[in-house]
């Protein structure tokens, strides 16, 4: 299990393609030929996984959009992020690399 928390920085894996169409995200894991469609929240989260923005900032951003307690939102976002990591869509950056130039996501 990945130890993901508010300070974690994640990015889309290099073989992941990501495109937003009508507020839905189309995610392609190219090496496996897998394709997923994400709802608007999933799309927002994947879009924020840019290899620069820590997870706590995702929550700050989402709090303004959803009527939910911060603790609940944090649990949901962390759980979803862990799921995306397990599915091979996101990867956590080592602390030293997080925020370094060129550490942005591999997809769009």
């Amino acid at each position: 299990m990945n130890d993901i928390g508010g300070g974690s920085v994640l990015r889309r894996r290099p073989d992941v393609r990501f495109r937003v169409i009508d507020e839905e995200g189309v995610v392609v894991r190219q090496s496996a030929g897998e394709v997923l469609v994400l709802n608007d929240l999933g799309t927002r989260i994947l879009a924020m996984a840019d290899g620069l923005t820590p997870l706590a900032r995702w929550i700050d951003s989402l709090l303004g959009e959803f009527d939910v307690e911060r603790a609940q939102l944090e649990r949901d976002v962390v759980a979803f992020a862990e799921e995306l990591v397990a599915q091979g869509l996101l990867e956590p950056l080592p602390a030293a690399a997080a925020g370094a130039p060129g550490s942005g996501g591999g997809g769009r």
Binding site: R19, V26, V28, S31
Partner: protein, 357 residues
């Protein structure tokens, strides 16, 4: 496992370019979507094997014993048949095994390896279009047609992508003058739906692979109608108009200008020998087995995702993904009013709800 290691004794010895000893001096031309395709270097047995496997796709000139000249106005895509020693291939126990080719991609080439098959597709800077080469130890016989078809499937998929089209894992069914593509991977129910459609009086193009192209792609796509029409003219802008016109005469609503092209690549159903002109696309239907029949509209994102999942060979190529997404986005946009998830039962009643749409 590295590229080719499942099939080749020495994958590091994969040919660096399209060169080697031809099997023979026979040649023929296949008029398939994206073509014509000129097959060179065939032995007599291989020549007979290709003719027997794809009789409806032989160029009229080749079928009559001429030199196999390509379609007027369209440069033929060459395919070289070259020798490869049987000892270069590893023995493979295929019992209970799902066959898949090995691929290796680069910006200017695609390499593939399989059972009795070493292949290259190359895009050369000084020539338009692409070129294919197939190295095989099979000189005719039972296995050669399968080896050749496996290579040809990949070549046609890449060629159509180049031209703004796509080969889709689908059952293609023609009903009331429109073609419906039932999309799904192995086990989704393509052959079942095709069989149920046959019982309803529909024609099945193929229950495995069909080609589709969106109007306005600015491409000339081989009609696949050489034997049937006596002409091998490419299907360009005039053809697109023809397709749109044909749609106007049918009772079934069709997507604007998209057309389905029959391929001679079938599973259990579909007549590989038959040829037919492009058919206007009536709808894209993602298959989902269920207790009761229902149609659920697909969003554009869902349509694109479904199309991406159902484009064999090319959808894992990192160097052509941008192109593939462009082509499929155009198709998803054109098909949007007619793209659904089809929840179907085995009662075959789904056609009544498709017609109502």
């Amino acid at each position: 496992m590295s590229f080719g290691a499942r099939f080749l004794c020495h994958p590091e010895g994969f040919p660096q370019r399209q060169a080697g000893d031809a099997w023979g001096d026979r040649e023929l031309t296949l008029d398939l979507p994206g073509g014509p395709y000129r097959v060179l270097g065939l032995s007599a047995a291989q020549d007979a094997g290709v003719r027997a496997t794809f009789p409806g796709s032989l160029d009229a000139g080749a079928a009559s014993g001429a030199d196999g000249g390509g379609s007027p106005g369209a440069a033929a895509i060459p395919i070289l048949l070259l020798r490869r020693a049987a000892g270069d291939f590893l023995p493979v126990d295929v019992r209970g095994w799902e066959y898949g080719l090995d691929f290796d991609w680069s910006p200017a080439a695609v390499r593939l390896a399989g059972l009795g098959l070493v292949g290259r597709l190359d895009w050369l800077p000084d020539r338009p279009g692409m070129e294919g080469a197939l190295w095989t130890p099979e000189d005719g016989g039972e296995r050669f047609p399968g080896v050749f078809e496996n290579f040809l499937r990949v070549l046609v998929a890449y060629r159509l992508l180049e031209l703004g089209g796509a080969v889709l894992h689908s059952a293609g069914v023609v009903k009331d003058g429109a073609a419906f593509l039932f999309l799904g991977r192995s086990g989704a129910g393509k052959t079942t739906v095709a069989r149920l459609s046959l019982a309803q009086g529909a024609d099945v193009l193929s229950d495995d692979l069909n080609a589709v192209i969106a109007a306005g792609s600015g491409t000339a796509v081989g009609s696949g109608t050489a034997a049937g029409s006596g002409t091998a003219a490419g299907w360009g802008a005039a053809g697109a108009s023809r397709v749109a016109g044909a749609a106007d005469t049918t009772a079934t609503a069709t997507t604007a200008g998209c057309a389905v092209l029959k391929l001679p690549f079938t599973g259990d159903l579909g007549e590989r020998r038959a040829v037919r002109p492009p058919v206007p696309l009536g709808g894209l239907l993602r298959l989902e087995q269920a207790e009761a029949d229902a149609l659920v509209p697909l969003s554009r994102a869902e349509t694109l995702a479904c199309l991406l999942a159902c484009t064999p060979f090319v959808n894992r190529d990192p160097h052509r993904r941008e192109r593939l997404e462009q082509v499929l986005l155009a198709l998803a946009a054109a098909a949007a009013p007619h793209a659904y998830t089809l929840r179907f039962s085995l009662h075959g009643g789904f056609w009544s709800i498709i017609k109502r749409k």
